[in-house]
């Protein structure tokens, strides 16, 4: 029995730990309760209005984020200098949860002001009503101002008739990145763009060696599988992922079968695309593989990765863009799919429906999308304003290729259940690839399961 009793020293040790816990508890408890207090409307009229700015730049994630933070700080301080009555307070959300949080917090009554958002989820925002209609606030805008921003599909995602709930801050589009040196080694001309899938396949076969895959794609369990690969190929073959008239999934079409077969053959028949692309992440399959020289061509290479091309020495003087921008051992070409068979999106800005100061929030938003503000927004990918493209540093072939790619893009289907649609189609493609199931039956089975739940929505 005796050994079970704690001696004094042991008890002391436990006690100290407990006290330490209480002390910590007390101070964290205090910070936890200050959050709701900050939300309360200002008590005195003299106090400034606080505008919360929900962003997705994780302060912990990586030191490379410092460019985004420097931009944010500059935006906030320049705005506060012009509007002393307003105080900007950034709040961070995970990049892939920021739209969901805006929706859930709207339902829970938690207030936000200016919020970054994704075009793919605008249909859901329209349905829930967590973003306000910006049209009345934009009444004073000139037509020029509107068309300057409305040229990309990002703007269209935020529109429904006369209602506009989001404005673009940048353009994320994708192209076919390729290794010019590998093209030359394989006897291909790096200056002649590939213009059809057949040409692309032939080049991929010529480029594939023991160590290098000719054509990189990504079919992992992520939305990118649909947005950058399966979706655009279905569009290329004349089909649709989702039928906007009937409001139901339609990927099990002739075009869907052709797209799935094309992908299957790339991996298993021609062996120009690595099988590992089915399980990995998009970054690993495209960006990392391209930078490490394991790919001769990377399909779905994002405009947000131009910085990596520069750092990897594939292009020179292109990030930040200069008028001396030139390609070196690598370059980009417009993805050789049919016109319109390509996905373009970008981060948007909206005003949360629970904002108590929508006018101030909108004024701050206007500040953020001024040409000079957007010009050096590090995560813009490409300029959201068409007028910015006239600047000399965007006249190089490299940037003009990106502009062409962006103009060719279209948004994802405007369904409330976009997330379910994309995940269903991605899982379907994976089953076709790894389980060697009959293509048509599998597509139909997945489509029917989706439609049995979400048809008409």
């Amino acid at each position: 029995m005796g050994n079970r009793r704690l001696n004094r020293r042991q008890l002391l040790r436990i006690g100290t730990l407990g006290l330490a816990g209480l002390g910590l508890g007390a101070c964290t408890g205090a910070t936890a309760t200050t959050a709701p207090a900050a939300e309360a409307p200002p008590a005195a009229a003299a106090e400034p209005v606080t505008i919360k700015w929900a962003h997705y730049f994780d302060p912990l994630q990586s030191p490379a984020q410092k460019f985004n933070f420097e931009w944010m700080e500059r935006m906030a301080s320049t705005f506060e200098a012009d509007h002393p009555e307003v105080k900007i307070e950034p709040e961070y959300f995970d990049w892939d949860r920021i739209d969901d949080r805006a929706i859930m917090d709207f339902e829970a009554g938690i207030k936000h002001d200016v919020v970054f958002g994704s075009p793919q989820l605008m249909a859901k925002h329209f349905e829930v009503g967590d973003f306000i209609d910006l049209a009345p606030y934009m009444a004073g805008w000139s037509d020029e101002e509107k068309t300057d921003l409305a040229w990309s599909p990002v703007w269209a995602s935020g529109s429904n008739g006369d209602v506009q709930i989001a404005v673009p801050t940048g353009v994320h589009t994708r192209s076919l990145a390729y290794r010019r040196d590998m093209f030359e080694a394989a006897g291909l001309d790096p200056d002649t763009p590939l213009t059809s899938l057949d040409e692309c396949l032939a080049a991929a076969q010529a480029l594939t060696t023991d160590d290098v895959y000719g054509l990189g794609m990504s079919f992992g369990p992520a939305r990118g599988t649909i947005e950058l690969y399966f979706g655009p190929l279905i569009w290329h073959f004349g089909g649709e992922l989702w039928d906007p008239e009937a409001k139901e999934a339609s990927f099990a079409s002739e075009a869907g079968i052709q797209a799935a077969n094309f992908i299957h053959d790339l991996v298993y028949t021609h062996k120009v695309t690595p099988e590992s692309a089915i399980g990995g992440t998009y970054d690993d399959a495209i960006l990392v593989a391209f930078l490490e020289g394991r790919l001769a061509m990377g399909w779905g290479f994002g405009s947000y990765w131009i910085v990596s091309l520069e750092e990897g020495g594939f292009v020179k003087g292109c990030f930040p863009a200069t008028d001396a921008c030139a390609v070196d051992t690598g370059g980009v070409m417009v993805t050789p799919t049919a016109p319109g068979a390509q996905f373009t999106n970008g981060w948007t800005l909206s005003v949360h429906a629970l904002s108590e100061h929508p006018q101030e929030a909108f004024t701050f938003m206007e500040h953020l999308i001024k040409p000079d503000s957007l010009y050096d927004f590090p995560d813009a990918g490409l300029p959201a304003r068409l007028s910015l493209w006239d600047r000399p540093e965007f006249q190089s072939d490299f940037y003009q290729t990106w502009l062409e790619a962006a103009g060719k893009g279209r948004p994802m289907p405007a369904t409330v259940h976009y997330a379910e649609l994309a995940d269903t189609a991605a899982a379907c493609l994976q089953e076709i690839l790894v389980m060697e199931e009959p293509v048509e039956d599998t597509l139909t089975r997945f489509q029917d399961e989706y439609n049995s739940k979400y048809a008409g929505k």
């Binding site: 859901k124 399980g279 739940k453």
Partner: protein, 299 residues
């Protein structure tokens, strides 16, 4: 029974047993309000459809009918069973072996008992990511070792069998320490004389295990298997951060499906219906195990 009499009886019980009731009160209140009540709500929500930003409507058993008509959901259940059987088959023998070894009279064996608890102390999301990087086709040490040994590239998160193996090994790795601890607790309670008398009777190592060790650790084994069964059945974060349910729906166990429906798609009705099925499955396993152990006791 007239109500006044029963209430009088209630008051009598309350005054007579005031102390134990009072002592139990806080735990009971917390559990009724935050566990029993939500458990009831889950049945309620499973019979309704709750659209985002709208009022919910009663839909009867539609959610269940929809789920049972799906290939996907039947696959979710099959994936859960496969996962469960795999984890138990791998972790229980390992835990038993580890328990016997750390409880042995070897000098220093006790230190291993502490070391072996490490997987239990690590957060599931962290160990999942570690496992994922270990089987990365280009930079993972396990894939590199296998490639060196066999000359083949093992695509763990692509090939269906290997993906299942990945989630099973990960979960077994996390589960075995707790099982070991419980079994070792039972082993230390066995008096050495029992083994001595078994040896006198001429029992070999296997017979000693079969007729002394196993029966006397049966209760601990039961608790271990029951706990791990339930934890494995409801596991979502471990599998989700390792495979997200892929490739296809191969590793989409019921817990992962529930997580996706409730927290990514906000389909509260379907999510709740899956929750109800998971609860019923858990109860089924509890009854099954109780029967097995009951049958063992009456032998």
């Amino acid at each position: 029974m007239p109500s006044s009499r029963s209430s009088r009886k209630g008051l009598y019980l309350l005054s007579r047993y005031r102390l134990p009731y009072l002592l139990l009160l806080p735990a009971v209140v917390v559990l009724v309000v935050f566990l029993a009540w939500p458990l009831g709500s889950i049945f309620y929500f499973s019979l309704r459809e709750t659209p985002l930003g709208g009022a919910s409507i009663f839909v009867g058993l539609d959610n269940f009918a929809l789920l049972l008509s799906e290939n996907r959901f039947l696959n979710n259940l099959a994936a859960s069973l496969r996962y469960l059987v795999g984890v138990l088959a791998l972790s229980v023998p390992l835990a038993y072996l580890a328990a016997i070894l750390v409880s042995s009279r070897l000098r220093g064996a006790g230190i291993f008992r502490t070391v072996f608890m490490l997987p239990w102390i690590i957060a599931p999301v962290v160990s999942s990511i570690l496992f994922r990087t270990m089987v990365d086709p280009y930079s993972g040490p396990i894939t590199a070792a296998l490639e060196w040994l066999t000359g083949e590239k093992f695509l763990f998160l692509v090939k269906p069998d290997l993906a299942v193996l990945s989630i099973v090994v990960h979960s077994a790795w996390r589960s075995f320490p707790f099982e070991m601890l419980l079994i070792a607790a039972g082993l230390t309670a066995i008096s050495p004389e029992l083994y001595d008398s078994a040896k006198v009777d001429g029992a070999g190592a296997w017979s000693q295990f079969r007729y002394v060790t196993l029966p006397l650790t049966r209760n601990q084994l039961f608790v271990a298997v029951l706990l791990i069964t339930i934890w494995t059945l409801q596991d979502a974060e471990g599998v989700y951060s390792l495979t997200q349910g892929g490739p296809g729906y191969v590793t989409e166990v019921a817990g992962v499906r529930l997580f996706k429906e409730a927290f990514i798609y906000f389909n509260i009705g379907i999510g709740s219906a899956i929750g109800v099925v998971l609860i019923l499955l858990s109860i089924l396993f509890m009854i099954l195990y109780l029967r097995v152990i009951g049958a063992g006791e009456s032998q």
